[in-house]
């Protein structure tokens, strides 16, 4: 009887204590996330439904969205930014990620010398600030003092050089490639890590079956690193549609020439904060931010529900 009593009261105390702990441990994260992520997000979504009429903030429903998509000038600059953003993303997917996979495959070759050095060198640009990267590349590509026209001149190919950052048809590709140069370290490292985690036995078994070299990469390694490639794709997608800083440092807030490097981030910046004589428009800025949020949300959902679920995982 008495023992049962003791155990009951014990378990009761345990329960209360456990609840208390949960609360304490969750609280800092909940407070921080609410204050710096959730509240601003809700406030942005709310702000996109309001506009200033005669100095008063008025609820306008989806009026701002109507302006953004219906008014020819707004929609022209929005679609231009969205199209540029897709090109920006596509170049990352087609250049950055394949190069990342290739570099990781090379790094994981067991007999590679100076592996640690290559690893560091490849990851270094990722650690640099956008401002520095933007500045360095502007100098490298400068037609007046740049290294690239000089080097091309040395090998007699000066005619191949053009002021790439200043031409509407090449500026976006150039900026995208600068971004690829900076960020290629991230896919490289992630895939390198997942390649290292492929068990030796699997590779040995493959070799016993006569699968070596290239076919080993395609038939054994690639399927095993596919989940990592999926994660990298979605990280690239989110990163690219939130991008702003590199375009801003290299091409300025007007994302010239002729708006050819304007992506959603720079459009949002100009609209929300204003630029030069243009006064910031908080409501339209919030509207663009909401659209960006929805685009990213849709992209992530497609990945999570349509792709990741069907991805085959192997367990050893």
């Amino acid at each position: 009887m008495s023992t049962a009593d003791y155990s009951q009261s014990d378990s009761g105390q345990d329960k209360r204590a456990r609840r208390w702990h949960i609360l304490v441990f969750l609280l800092p994260a909940v407070i921080v996330y609410t204050a710096i992520m959730i509240l601003p997000l809700i406030e942005t979504l709310r702000l996109s439904l309001f506009n200033v009429v005669d100095g008063q903030s008025v609820f306008v429903g989806f009026g701002n969205f109507q302006t953004l998509f219906g008014e020819p000038r707004w929609s022209a600059s929005f679609w231009n930014a969205l199209r540029n953003n897709f090109v920006f993303f596509l170049i990352h997917m087609l250049v950055q990620n394949p190069i990342g996979v290739a570099l990781a495959a090379l790094l994981s070759v067991p007999k590679l010398r100076f592996g640690a050095f290559y690893r560091t060198a490849l990851f270094l640009p990722t650690l640099l600030s956008f401002v520095i990267v933007g500045f360095i590349w502007k100098l490298i590509l400068s037609p007046i003092w740049g290294v690239s026209p000089y080097l091309l001149d040395l090998v007699g190919l000066k005619s191949l050089f053009a002021p790439w950052l200043g031409r509407p048809d090449t500026a976006l590709i150039t900026v995208s490639l600068i971004s690829v140069w900076q960020n290629v370290g991230i896919p490289t490292m992630l895939i390198y890590a997942s390649m290292l985690s492929i068990p030796e036995e699997v590779l040995e078994a493959a070799e016993c079956d006569g699968i070596t070299g290239w076919s080993q990469f395609w038939k054994i390694k690639l399927p095993l690193i596919l989940p990592s490639i999926g994660i990298i794709s979605i990280l690239t997608f989110v990163g690219n549609f939130n991008a702003f800083d590199l375009v801003y440092t290299v091409q300025g807030a007007l994302a010239g020439p002729d708006g050819s490097t304007d992506i959603l981030g720079t459009l949002l910046y100009r609209t929300f904060f204003g630029f030069q004589l243009q006064i910031g428009d908080k409501s339209m800025g919030a509207t663009i931010a909401t659209v960006m949020f929805l685009i990213i949300l849709t992209g992530v959902c497609i990945y999570l529900f349509a792709i990741q679920r069907r991805m085959r995982r192997y367990q050893f």
Partner: protein, 419 residues
């Protein structure tokens, strides 16, 4: 070494503190400004000159960094702690403060008669009936050239457009120098140093600018498209890869002596004086035909206003009248060559290059940049669009006609001139 510095600092503070005590009964005026660069000029030249003439008034120059100025000033107005004298940004930012009742009207201030309506335009209400800042400084556009290069090639200073292009051809043919140091990468160079520099000669300065605001002229009119047509011709005289040439690149190309002509604003003068190793001269934006009236962009940049809630309104007015006087103009303009006083009394400049710029006021009609007053309040913003289109015209992305049409369409979408 360290201890002597410390000692002298301590000495200085104690002396300053006692000086403060001695004049405790004096009125003290505080000046709000974003011109942190001007601190030394105010403390060493301007304030002593004023205090010598006005015993009993002490002046303190308290600048805030440029990027924080507007926000900080707004907060101080709200809290009632703003200084007595406010340095004014041109156009809408100051107009907004005036409309909120933070700045006093200065229409009847003694000394205001020293300024022309153009000089006051940046700080007047839209109808021009009231003024709330004393104009302090402006910047003038023109061309700075490498005198040594001109002498070597035997080129005379061009006055008409034909002579200008003939000079450019000659420089290009010789090949030693890049004829024009300008790039389109930063966009604003093309608009500010290009379009707004040569434009007033075509749209006849104030006449065209005010007509544009009234709606009687359009950006698609011949007078407004013509500067773009001229600008399009500049393309052949710019350096290799000008599409990716930035503003600092242009400055360096000129000061290193690699380019012959620099489409300029007068604010470059002090920098060029310290960096260029050759003789420099300046010439007016060339007129179309010999004998035409010349127009220059004399763009208001800096003014001074009185806080409407100042506790020392009499002293503040006295100070502002002094700012409007030729004495202030003389000290200020000579301390900062390239920032000219807007006073109609001519100021004698010691710097020859600055003197050349300021002398144009006597023979040409001044105007301000066409996009700044009223026309850049809406979206799309006319000033920003002008940057993009000016660069497009020089790059050859758009023809002058297309560029003008785009600008006018953008303006039409929100601006309805008062009928």
């Amino acid at each position: 070494m360290g201890s002597t510095t410390l000692k002298s600092l301590l000495m200085a503070t104690s002396i300053l503190a006692s000086a403060g005590f001695a004049h405790a009964a004096d009125t003290t005026l505080t000046i709000e400004s974003w011109r942190t660069d001007d601190l030394a000029i105010w403390q060493e030249k301007l304030i002593p000159a004023f205090e010598a003439k006005n015993p009993g008034i002490k002046v303190k120059f308290a600048p805030t960094p440029p990027t924080e100025y507007d926000a900080a000033l707004g907060a101080r107005f709200d809290a009632g702690s703003a200084g007595d004298i406010i340095t004014c940004r041109p156009f809408d930012k100051s107009l907004e403060q005036f409309k909120r009742g933070n700045l006093s009207s200065l229409k009847s201030l003694p000394g205001m008669e020293n300024f022309t309506p153009v000089a006051k335009a940046a700080w007047s209400t839209d109808d021009g009936s009231d003024t709330f800042c004393v104009p302090m400084a402006s910047v003038i556009h023109g061309f700075i050239y490498n005198k040594d290069a001109f002498d070597k090639l035997g080129i005379a200073v061009p006055t008409t457009e034909a002579e200008f292009f003939a000079a450019l051809d000659k420089i290009k043919k010789d090949g030693t120098y890049i004829p024009l140091a300008m790039g389109t990468k930063d966009l604003w160079e093309a608009a500010t140093m290009g379009y707004q520099n040569i434009g007033p000669n075509y749209w006849k300065g104030e006449e065209g600018r005010t007509a544009l605001i009234k709606g009687t002229q359009k950006l698609t009119d011949a007078d407004w498209v013509a500067p773009y047509k001229t600008l399009a011709k500049w393309k052949d005289y710019l350096g290799d890869g000008f599409e990716a040439q930035t503003y600092p690149d242009s400055q360096n190309l000129f000061t290193l002596g690699r380019a012959a002509i620099y489409p300029a604003g007068s604010w470059e003068i002090s920098l060029f004086n310290t960096q260029a190793q050759f003789k420099m001269g300046a010439f007016l934006p060339p007129v179309q035909k010999a004998g035409d009236t010349c127009y220059i962009s004399d763009h208001a940049d800096l003014g001074a206003a009185m806080n409407a809630k100042s506790k020392n309104p009499e002293a503040a007015k006295k100070f502002l009248s002094w700012v409007a006087s030729p004495e202030f103009a003389d000290i200020y303009a000579n301390a900062l060559p390239g920032f000219f006083s807007l006073s109609s009394t001519p100021v004698k400049m010691k710097d020859p290059l600055a003197q050349e710029f300021v002398s144009w006021r006597e023979k040409c009609k001044p105007t301000i940049r066409s996009t700044y007053q009223i026309l850049s309040r809406g979206k799309p913003n006319l000033e920003n669009e002008t940057w993009v289109e000016s660069a497009n015209v020089i790059n050859g992305t758009d023809t002058p006609e297309v560029a003008a049409k785009k600008l006018q369409d953008g303006l039409d979408s929100w601006y309805k001139p008062a009928k």
